[in-house]
Amino acid sequence: MSVSRRQFLKGSGVGLLTFYVSGCQVSLTPEQAKQQQADFLTLTGPQVSTLEALGNVLVPGAASKGLAHFLDQQLSARGQDQLLMIRYLGVPQPFDGFYTAGLAAVESVSRAAHGKNFAELKSDQKTDLVMQMAQTNPEGWQGPPAPFFYFVVRSDAVDVVYGTTMGFDELDVPYMPHIEPPTGWRL
């Protein structure tokens, strides 16, 4: 049942994931999906805005690497095929409710404290709020435990920024794949 390295690399296109651009299915990286403004299947516009702003605070560059498209695409995937780290963390599927409740809590706390959406806050205000989330539930927080939500979204952001072939390259870590991740979606 052993196959050669050449055969592995030939199989690197297996399992491409799809996004929708103007109603057409296309295979893209999350970063490309972001650039091409691919449709969202699960997340709403305001949720995307909050997620991208939060992701950028957690891991610089997460939004442009396609964090929101990655998460949205994964939330619409079948349970056993999901690639999100939250799978390991004891949260029952489906995960949509966890993320939407957490994002709503971020917005609610942001508006209560500053009268603005999270994405509209100044940089230091965003950082302060995330610092609070990392340690405890900010006042008025209603959602999954804030430190846990912080950890989960941070992990997703880490995945799209550092867990890709490009992310490895940027850290100067050799990727050394046996079988490369699907070429349309190099995570």
Partner: protein, 521 residues
């Protein structure tokens, strides 16, 4: 409903199921393997920490409670090859001292067998599969044949951490790995790229699709994936198992069998036995003494991390590590903390990736934003890690029970409670202190530790001589249904302080021989 008549049904295609199926089929038996998850082969094993998550448990949810949860999704597998598809291939042996802890220390449980009973099977499996190691360097190693392959190579991270152990007067040896350091038995040698967790598509690591499943299939066994067993069937007098009912690709089927082996891992085996209760077995099969489901164990992981001045090449090697230390293994009751009890080993200098649960970024969850990015850039070059496998003392309250919630087939879900034994927690804490001191002795500029992780799942269908306190005998044969067997780590009465997969294979090999003799008779 379709009915198939078979000789032996093996439920599960992981470590224990695959070796049993191979040996039984090659012994001329009519074997069907029923695997709940999807078909998987080498070309499914994509080198990515994200894609690797598909190999983890994807079946019915398991409800977890307790102060040290077992991390079922992370530790269990789903699909052909089971959990062993994503295991790291760390294959040390248990020690003689692990087998009689109740008799010798008044702690835990006794096994119904000793190391001498298991040694021939360790040696046999080691030869068949191949293990890389250096027996002479393992000054703590129990009696056994020399390893058939040279020890795994040492890279910079290993050399740096070895200096720390040496400075403290502690020993290191190449980590015994079921990973080929040279080509072996038609399988290729490892290229030390650290993708073990994502499954090894070149067959260098001994996962079932590289080792025993091909043997099972060539011996005539039939493997059915997407085949979820939902009930073990027994005769009306309750004395015999007559087969299983399964859902195969969405269709209910029955497999009439002379013998059934449950090899579906430590949580699903007791779930199935509990859910197969009948009038004659009102509390579940194998539960006449109410031992079924009890003594679930998981190794607390002692995670130690550091940054060094030198570049560590921490991306090279095997995911399990390069070196091992078991200096203190046999001193179960003698630790720096008087409250601590048990054995442990260090897996040293593990290959690491930037992301994922065991990745670099997760070791510092407190960092975000620019400080995280700075840390990642430094750590990618200068990071080192090691992990202690700490013995978990068995407690009856740590158990698998059935939930009120049911799956779509009407089978109650499993719920698992696991608390950390106070002596286990004390040992884990003492071990972390030792680990930090090793890193400091090695010259680390920064040292930190991780939370009490959960590695491996054992117990729940423990073996024993006494039917009043155990579920099976030493072969995994149920005390109260004689042609029904359990295989896998669920049989372990104690966890030891080493990775379980080698012992799972040795026990299953012993059971296979027993079954071949029994079926022949």
């Amino acid at each position: 409903m379709k009915i198939q008549k078979v000789g032996i049904v093996v439920v599960g295609s992981g470590a224990s199921g695959s070796i049993l199926a191979a040996k039984l089929a090659r012994g001329g038996k009519d074997v069907v393997i029923l695997e709940a998850g999807p078909q998987r082969g080498h070309d499914d094993l994509i080198s990515s920490t994200l894609w690797a998550r598909r190999l983890k448990w994807g079946g019915e949810p398991v409800v977890e409670t307790g102060d040290h949860k077992i991390s079922h999704v992370f530790n269990a597998g789903f699909g052909v090859g089971g959990s062993a598809m994503h295991h790291y291939g760390v294959w040390p042996r248990l020690h003689p001292v692990d087998f009689n802890m109740q008799s010798n220390y008044g702690e835990g449980l006794d096994w119904p067998i000793g190391y001498a009973d298991l040694r021939p099977y360790y040696d046999e499996v080691q030869k068949e599969v191949g293990i890389s190691g250096d027996a002479k360097s393992e000054v703590w190693r129990p009696a056994g044949d020399d390893y058939p392959m040279p020890g795994v190579p040492q890279f910079t991270q290993g050399r740096i951490l070895a200096k720390g152990f040496n400075a403290k007067g502690m020993n290191t040896a190449p980590l015994p790995l079921a990973v080929n350091s040279i080509p072996y038995n038609g399988r290729r040698a490892c290229i030390w790229d650290g993708w073990c967790d994502a499954g090894c598509p070149i067959g260098a690591l001994a996962n079932p699709v590289a080792t025993y499943l091909p043997q099972a299939l060539s011996g005539g066994a039939r493997l059915m994936s997407n085949a979820t067993v939902i009930k073990v069937l027994t005769s009306t007098d309750g004395m015999r198992c007559v087969g299983v009912r399964a859902v195969v690709d969405g269709e209910e089927m029955e497999f009439e069998a002379d013998h059934v082996v449950l090899a579906a891992f430590a949580v699903q085996n007791p779930r199935l036995l509990l859910a197969s209760a009948t009038e004659k077995h009102p509390h579940g099969l194998g539960n006449g003494s109410f031992a079924l489901g009890k003594y679930i164990m998981t190794h607390p992981a002692g995670l130690v991390y550091g940054l060094f001045e030198e570049e560590t090449q921490c991306y090279l090697g095997a995911f399990g590590g390069q070196l091992v230390n078991q200096d203190a293994y046999d001193n179960k009751s003698t630790h720096a903390s008087a409250d601590a009890f048990g054995s442990y080993q260090w897996m040293i200098a593990q290959a690491v990736k930037p992301n994922d649960l065991l990745g670099i970024a997760t070791t510092r969850p407190d960092l975000f934003g620019a400080p995280l990015d700075d840390f990642m850039k430094r750590a990618a070059k200068h990071f080192a890690s090691m992990t202690a496998v700490v013995e978990d003392l068995p407690m009856a309250q740590n158990r698998v029970t059935l939930s009120d919630e049911k799956d779509p087939h009407g089978v109650p879900l499993a719920q698992v409670h696991h608390d950390s034994h106070p002596k286990t927690r004390a040992l884990w804490q003492a071990v972390l202190e030792e680990g930090k001191s090793v890193f400091e002795a090695a010259g680390a500029k920064e040292v930190w530790t991780g939370p009490q992780g959960a590695m491996h799942i054992m117990g729940g269908t423990v073996m024993g001589d006494n039917p009043n306190t155990s579920v099976t005998d030493s072969y995994g044969q149920l005390h109260d249904v004689k042609n029904l067997y359990v295989a896998g780590p669920g049989l372990f009465p104690t966890s030891g302080g080493v990775n379980p997969t080698f012992t799972i294979h040795a026990l299953a090999s012993r059971t296979a021989q027993h079954l071949l003799e029994r079926v022949a008779a």
